[in-house]
């Protein structure tokens, strides 16, 4: 079943008198439980697509569906509720609240939904229960990113959107983070849409969508995705 669908989606930014085309008629879909990697160089429009998918940006033209809901027609309030109920974000810069501990950062997201997952349980999933009372500044980059994953997971979202989740991590740490994501995807059948410019990561995806100049230039399915540990960059 399709969880996310883009139909001829355009995004144009106006910068002074210049119009910048970030997306030029994107058509794509993501199925429930898939682990999809969007691959493309900087400025190819992949983050813009992710923002629109997550309801934190709106397309200039075209339609975006989450299951049967046309989120591209949502107003700001509806988009907020959509994000709250259905989407989990993982950012490149982790974006944890520095004054809150790991547990409190996760709790922050848990308080938004009616039936959140147990905070300690999700910290256990990302392997950080023992670090629950530590502040972000007391944690490594990899640990911070795993807290961010736990924060995304605790709301029980249907769709987890990750923007260059390993972009700020070293090779080994990056692989450990990807391992956590892949495990959650498989064990909980949770959908992941991950954007990156790192072509190696594409090897672990079920499906890869290639972006260039705001367009989807290629789509390919991995018949045998690699395990994160098998990746090398």
């Amino acid at each position: 079943m399709t969880i996310l669908r883009f139909e001829d989606v355009w995004k144009v930014y106006r910068m002074g008198k210049v119009e910048v085309y970030a997306l030029r008629g994107i058509d794509l879909s993501v199925e429930e439980g898939e682990f999809v990697v969007v691959l493309g160089p900087s400025g190819s429009g992949k983050t813009t697509m992710l923002n629109i998918a997550g309801g934190i940006d709106k397309p200039t033209k075209g339609k975006v569906f989450f299951r049967d809901l046309e989120i591209s027609s949502f107003d700001e309030k509806e988009l907020t509720i959509f994000r709250r109920r259905h989407v989990g974000f993982v950012f490149q810069f982790f974006n944890l609240i520095p004054t809150l501990t790991a547990r409190e950062n996760v709790q922050l997201a848990a308080e938004l939904v009616e039936n959140p997952r147990n905070v300690d349980e999700v910290l256990e999933i990302v392997g950080l229960r023992h670090r629950a009372n530590h502040l972000p500044t007391e944690m490594s980059g990899g640990e911070q990113q795993r807290v961010a994953i736990a924060r995304a997971l605790v709301k029980n979202p249907d769709l987890i959107l990750c923007d260059e989740p390993t972009g700020n991590l070293d090779f080994e740490t990056g692989k450990r983070v990807l391992r956590v994501m892949r495990d959650i995807n498989r064990e909980e059948d949770r959908t992941f849409l991950l954007v990156t410019h790192n072509a190696v990561i594409a090897n672990m995806a079920d499906r890869v969508i290639h972006f260039r100049d705001g367009r989807v230039v290629k789509e390919e399915t991995n018949p045998e995705p690699l395990e994160p540990e098998e990746l090398s960059w």
Binding site: I56, K77, I81, R83, F93, N95, L100, Q107
Partner: protein
């Protein structure tokens, strides 16, 4: 949203000093408003209670001795509720070698129904007994039962003090001829009427009438009728309640107090609004990424905005709760010390719920308004920012050509001033306000010194004033350099139904002991013909130089030509030449003397030593030194709180670039100098703008306190400028210390990690 609250509290903890600094501003604003305004209401209530309790007069008329029987005519005027007639005279008494001026006021057999005396000790006096004004008795150590040796018209009377009392007429001792009378050197004795008749030799006569009426709206009409009863005998002065000297000065002072009670705290709360705005703006800018994440997680705009408003609410709650509490103690202390120097038996201390409510609302609203200003910025933050990271952008003015000759660090310091113009303006505002507060407070001391200088070094340069008419014998005394006779009397000027009473001084020509000066320091000579009028009176009576005016003087009604109009400092008076007054029939009643021995002069009459008078005024003014010290401290702490706030915010905000500078090899000292250059540039501009504003404020005070009785010159001496500059510079330095210590202790590796992470 418990976790958001935890975040808010942790944020507050992480920046506790900045939050405390802004909360302190709110605290000061609330404490001063509730404290000062409650004090104002307390003092007003105290006066009101005392005036009601003692049946304070609605109108009064002073005249040359007139038959006491005329009181029946006054009583019969429709609308008159009660009336008392008085016989008054001026006498002297010696206390510990000091010649004290006394006003003797007759009282009826029983406590009067107008201007009743509030007896605090002893009993109502019988023959040969007097009641003494309480404050005067206390200040001079006079106790009940003591016998006073009072000299009147060359004769000494032994009067036993039967008790001490307060009078609504003398809450503040103020005489038209002696506005600067200190409560220690000007006494009032209340003497039974028949005793006064004996002492003055004015049997069956009165010189004053004080009236209580039913309907205040009819005051003018009744006053005219009372005046007409005594016009025949020569009016000396008349007034409605608002014009009664003590009442008028108290009212003027209270109005000034009210303005200060409103202006100071309002200014502080305005500064608090700006301070909270600067702090919250910085937090919002720094937490833009966090805001975006919260929004991306699914927090609504409203929730995020409310979260940031909790900072304002917490600042407001801390500042307001402590401020209201402190306000109560300020009010109690202020009311007590204010009333303590006056002749009032008690003071009212109440808690005014409307003042508390208004200060609480103001204290809570001020930071909230600042918070609301920042919400626009919060609302504009798009959650997508979280994806791409965030950079703070500053405006940099094109000063390159100008700055080229400076070092890189100096250029950076000067550019920083223009980086955030709003913040720079706020800091500037803080420095300017600090300068105004400190400079005006110190200028009050300057003004008192200037006042003493004008009065004793320019206008009255003589050493003694002796109550006698002939200087011939005085001149023969050893040590006496000069002695001149003069006339000092009362005058009532009337034109178009408006009357102004003043002092008329007749000066001999060719002497330098008693001079006429204008506000610009220009000396004027006694007029060969006519009189010199004070500007305030001339303006009030709409009279111009060269015109003629009717005046009531001791010898009756005369027509006088206005020779000149002079804006006189301090105690404005009407001046004529001695010869001119002698032609009208006056005889000199005082002799001014340079040099000589006070004790030897005493045999010619009562002696007033100008040196002692000056010392008493200085002593009286020193009682206000605490207030000035408080104002200076207040101004300095205000400037400190603001500069500390912005400097630490600036440093925290720029910690990344400061860390980079340190990584590059710049020393803490070099960076500290750069911060000093930035802060001191703002400080210098603040000083340059602050002083003219302080002078304008002083001019405002000058206008407020100008009356026909008093014309206080407000000046600023160079010493005030120097002290203000030093205090501001020290404040700037002190407020920079925490920031510079932060730079010194900065863990460069951690801050660098923030840059990359």
């Amino acid at each position: 949203m418990r976790t958001l609250l935890i975040k808010a509290i942790r944020d507050l903890k992480a920046q506790k000093w900045q939050f405390l600094a802004v909360s302190f501003l709110v605290f000061l604003g609330v404490a001063l408003f509730s404290g000062l305004y409650s004090s104002y209401l307390n003092i007003e209530a105290t006066y009101k209670k005392f005036y009601t309790q003692t049946n304070f007069e609605d109108l009064g008329v002073e005249f040359n001795p007139a038959p006491k029987d005329l009181l029946k005519m006054v009583k019969a005027i429709p609308g008159v509720k009660a009336v008392v007639g008085r016989l008054t005279a001026y006498a002297t008494m010696e206390i510990e070698g000091r010649e004290i001026r006394l006003k003797l006021v007759s009282i009826p057999e029983e406590n009067s129904k107008v201007n009743s005396l509030f007896i605090v000790e002893g009993v109502y006096p019988k023959h040969n007994e007097v009641l003494i004004l309480k404050k005067f008795a206390d200040l001079n150590g006079i106790s009940v039962g003591q016998v006073l040796h009072v000299r009147l018209n060359g004769k000494i009377y032994d009067l036993r003090v039967s008790g001490s009392a307060y009078s609504p007429e003398y809450i503040l001792i103020s005489e038209r001829t002696n506005v600067l009378a200190s409560p220690k050197d000007m006494g009032v004795l209340f003497v039974p009427y028949n005793m006064m008749e004996e002492m003055t030799g004015l049997k069956g006569k009165i010189t004053e009438v004080h009236v209580k009426i039913y309907d205040e709206d009819r005051a003018d009409e009744i006053l005219n009728k009372v005046k007409s009863e005594f016009r025949l005998y020569g009016l000396k002065s008349f007034y409605k309640r608002e014009g009664q000297p003590s009442y008028k000065l108290l009212k003027m002072d209270l109005e000034g107090f009210k303005h200060i009670a409103f202006m100071f705290p309002s200014m502080l709360l305005l500064i608090a609004v700006l301070a909270v705005y600067i702090l919250l703006s910085r937090i919002v800018i720094e937490q833009t990424g966090i805001i975006a994440v919260l929004r991306a997680l699914g927090y609504s705009k409203r929730t995020v905005i409310f979260h940031f408003l909790t900072y304002s609410i917490l600042i407001g709650l801390i500042g307001t709760s402590l401020g209201v509490l402190a306000g109560y103690y300020i009010s109690a202390g202020m009311t007590s010390s204010y009333v303590d120097v006056l002749n009032v038996p008690y003071h009212v201390t109440e808690i005014y719920s409307n003042v508390l409510l208004a200060s609480a609302i103001a204290g809570l609203l001020a930071p909230l308004i600042a918070g609301i200003f920042t919400t626009k910025r919060i609302a504009e933050i798009e959650p997508a920012i979280a994806m791409r990271g965030f950079k703070i952008e500053y405006k940099v003015l094109g000063l390159d050509r100008l700055l080229r000759r400076f070092s890189i660090l100096t250029r950076l310091a000067i550019r920083n001033i223009f980086r955030n113009p709003k913040r720079t303006l706020y800091t500037l505002f803080g420095v300017v306000m600090g300068v105004v507060l400190i400079a005006t407070s110190l200028a009050f001391v300057d003004s008192v010194d200037e006042m003493l200088h004008i009065q004793f070094d320019k206008v009255q340069t003589f050493d003694y004033k002796v109550e006698c008419s002939n200087p011939t014998d005085i001149k023969r005394l050893v040590g006496v350099e000069e002695a001149y006779p003069l006339v000092e009397t009362w005058i009532l000027l009337e034109r178009n139904g408006i009357a102004k009473s003043s002092v008329l001084i007749g000066l001999p020509t060719g002497q330098d002991l008693f001079n006429i000066y204008d506000l610009n320091g220009r000396k004027h000579h006694p007029p060969p013909k006519g009189i010199i009028l004070p500007k305030f009176i001339a303006e009030n009576l709409s009279i111009a130089k060269g015109e003629e005016i009717y005046a009531f003087i001791e010898i009756g009604k005369v027509r006088l030509k206005v020779y000149d109009i002079v804006d006189q400092p301090l105690i404005p008076a009407c001046y004529a030449s001695l010869e001119g007054l002698e032609r009208l029939g006056f005889r000199p009643n005082e002799v001014i003397v340079k040099g000589g021995d006070e004790n030897k002069l005493k045999r010619f009459g009562a002696v007033v030593s100008m040196k002692k008078l000056r010392e008493n005024i200085v002593e009286m003014m020193s009682m206000m030194s605490e207030f000035f010290a408080f104002s200076v401290l207040f101004g300095a702490s205000l400037a400190f709180a603001e500069i500390f706030n912005t400097t630490t915010i600036n440093i925290l905000e720029r910690r990344r670039e400061i860390a980079t500078l340190r990584m590059l090899g710049y020393t803490v000292k070099e960076i500290a100098i750069s911060i000093l250059v930035e802060t001191f540039t703002i400080g210098l501009v603040g000083l340059l703008l602050g002083f003219p504003l302080a002078i304008l404020t002083l001019k405002g005070f000058e206008m407020t306190y100008k009356s026909e009785m008093f014309n206080m010159p407000f000046v600023m001496y160079p010493r005030t400028i120097v002290v203000t500059v030093v205090v501001i510079v020290l404040t700037l330095l002190a407020s920079l210390i925490p920031g510079i210590r932060f730079v010194a202790k900065m863990e460069i590796d951690k801050v660098t990690k923030e840059v990359t992470g």
